[in-house]
């Protein structure tokens, strides 16, 4: 949303959550032998990021 | 040829199970797979059974991937893996339902030969459990038998008797791969021995060739490990 203002606390909290999601994505990609699980993991993380971004902008 | 490993490497998250392993297996063979704990015996058997997928390289059983020919593969895990409530009769029901090549007549013969009591798995001793699981697997009419430490927990005298009768009467059309860390047990029993060391095939020899060299399996084992 143009002109949206974020406070320091929000930036830190969302930063930590995004960082954790990136880490989770990395683990979900590397920690299985199943290709389906791997791609599904990416999809789930992407959806979570999207959902979070949407919540952030609303 | 019945089965083949082509330069197979299996990496786990931090360790390597086997490294660049190549070998061929033929029908009618009874093969002893030897090695210390952690040398890659279980990984090799699981790769052949299609329970693990190779990181690199390829596995073939009867010209297909192991998962495609798993109806022809009888695998016995070293895990104590039956349901606690199962009796030999329940086990028969499970096998007959899931494996089309299960032979109930042979199963009952094996139960008698292996002296498996008709009681729940929970109340069996370790040796009795191993005997039941062995009877279940050997009752299949498969082409490739992969037995991972099938005799552990069974007393020494019975082990010898079971192993000898198993290998002596081995089926023409099938191949048996039996892993053990009891090297002395393999003496004079298997026609071919494979020796794994740190995930690599350190020795692949016919027992008669070893004998011709005046070497026992144990000698060869110690020589390789040295």
């Amino acid at each position: 949303m143009p002109g949206a203002q974020f406070g320091t606390v929000e930036i830190i909290v969302f930063g930590v959550v995004f960082a954790w999601l990136v880490y989770a994505g990395y683990r979900l990609w590397t920690a299985t032998y199943s290709p389906t699980a791997r791609w599904l993991g990416m999809g789930f993380v992407a959806l979570a990021v999207l959902g979070l971004a949407k919540g952030l902008l609303e | 040829m019945l089965a083949k490993l082509n330069g197979v490497t299996k990496r786990y998250s931090k360790t390597e199970g086997v490294h660049e392993l190549s070998l061929e297996l033929y029908p009618g063979q009874a093969v002893g797979l030897l090695g210390l704990n952690g040398s890659g015996k279980t990984t090799t058997l699981k790769l052949l059974a299609g329970m693990l997928f190779p990181t690199t390289g390829s596995v073939e059983v009867l010209g297909q991937s192991p998962r495609e020919s798993r109806g022809q593969i009888a695998y016995l895990s070293d895990a104590d893996n039956l349901y606690a409530w199962m009796t030999p009769r329940d086990a028969e029901r499970l096998m007959a339902g899931l494996y089309p090549d299960f032979n109930p007549g042979r199963y009952r013969e094996l139960l008698a030969f292996l002296e498996v009591p008709q009681q729940g798995y929970r109340s069996m001793s370790r040796g009795q459990r191993a005997r039941l699981r062995l009877a279940m697997v050997l009752s299949r009419e498969a082409r490739l038998f992969l037995l991972d430490e099938p005799l552990s927990g069974i007393d020494v005298i019975s082990r010898d008797r079971i192993l000898k009768s198993l290998v002596r009467e081995w089926r023409e059309e099938a191949c048996l791969v039996l892993s053990t860390h009891e090297v002395s047990e393999a003496e004079g029993i298997f026609e071919r021995v494979l020796l794994l060391k740190e995930g690599r095939l350190a020795l692949d020899a016919k027992a008669e060739d070893l004998r011709a060299k005046g070497q026992s399996v144990k000698d060869a084992f110690i020589e390789v490990l040295a």
């Binding site: 299985t32 789930f44 959902g51 | 299609g50 499970l94």
Partner: protein, 252 residues
């Protein structure tokens, strides 16, 4: 194939039969407890409300406990080395999942259906009559967790796929978030589309088709929202398919 399916169903029955029986005993126990509630508080509307609330609570709690057991079973079988027994068999993955699904749906239907009957019976005593058809359907499907059996099985397998890599907690968290997100986005993105394709079922939401403003508020429908039902059915089929693939790729 039929023989294998019967065997797998028998296996599920042996594994979860005791749990299922326990749930049915809960239903029987609640029948008498509900009666006591009316005896103590009198046959009035407050007692009926109380019985309704407790029944709903027991239904949700029992269903969740059973679903959790279904989820955790994959991990337990993995740790017991039992997958080598099952994966080695030449049966396709979907057959295993179908047996587990049927068992799960069967137990939950008996449990929640039983609770519904208990509640209907005692509420009938104070003159509150609940319609059996649609109400019981929603009860079973949503409160009873029937819609969750396949997603629960999927979640169990998905987490189990991460046991060798020791990332099960991350897989569980992301799996739950992911399932929620998939549900939310499918409702959001396809929601308006579904309405155009759906036949005009005469469900208790009269006038909805004529009023575009109500379309997006499908959650608030007082009946069986046909759209949610369609979405959940599609997602169930999808997750059943994905879980079957996972089963084929899992390593023992």
């Amino acid at each position: 194939m039929m023989n294998a399916f019967r065997t797998l169903l028998w296996l599920e029955l042996r594994k979860f039969g005791v749990f299922g029986l326990g749930l049915l005993l809960v239903v029987a126990g609640w029948f008498f407890m509900a009666r006591q509630t009316f005896e103590w508080n009198g046959y009035k509307l407050e007692s009926a409300a109380m019985v309704f609330a407790v029944t709903a609570f027991v239904a949700v709690g029992g269903s969740i406990a059973y679903l959790a057991a279904l989820i955790m079973d994959f991990g337990r079988e993995y740790r017991a080395g039992r997958w080598s027994l099952l994966l080695g068999s030449p049966q396709p993955g979907w057959l295993y999942l179908a047996a587990r699904t049927l068992m799960g749906v069967g137990v939950l239907t008996l449990f929640n259906g039983g609770l519904w009957l208990v509640q209907t019976f005692w509420l009938g005593q104070v003159g509150v009559s609940l319609p059996i058809g649609l109400g019981a359907g929603i009860w079973l499907y949503l409160l009873g967790g029937l819609a969750l059996v396949v997603p629960a099985l999927f979640l169990g397998l998905w987490v189990a796929a991460y046991i060798p890599g020791k990332a099960t907690l991350i897989a569980l968290i992301i799996g739950v978030i992911g399932l929620g997100q998939v549900l939310e986005w499918s409702a959001r993105l396809w929601g308006s589309q579904f309405y155009r394709w759906l036949p005009a079922w005469k469900l208790p939401a009269p006038g909805v088709e004529q009023n575009p403003a109500v379309r997006m508020e499908w959650e608030n429908f007082p009946g069986l929202p046909s759209e949610a039902f369609v979405i959940l059915s599609v997602l169930t089929a999808l997750f059943f398919f994905v879980a079957s693939r996972l089963w084929q790729e899992v390593e023992a």
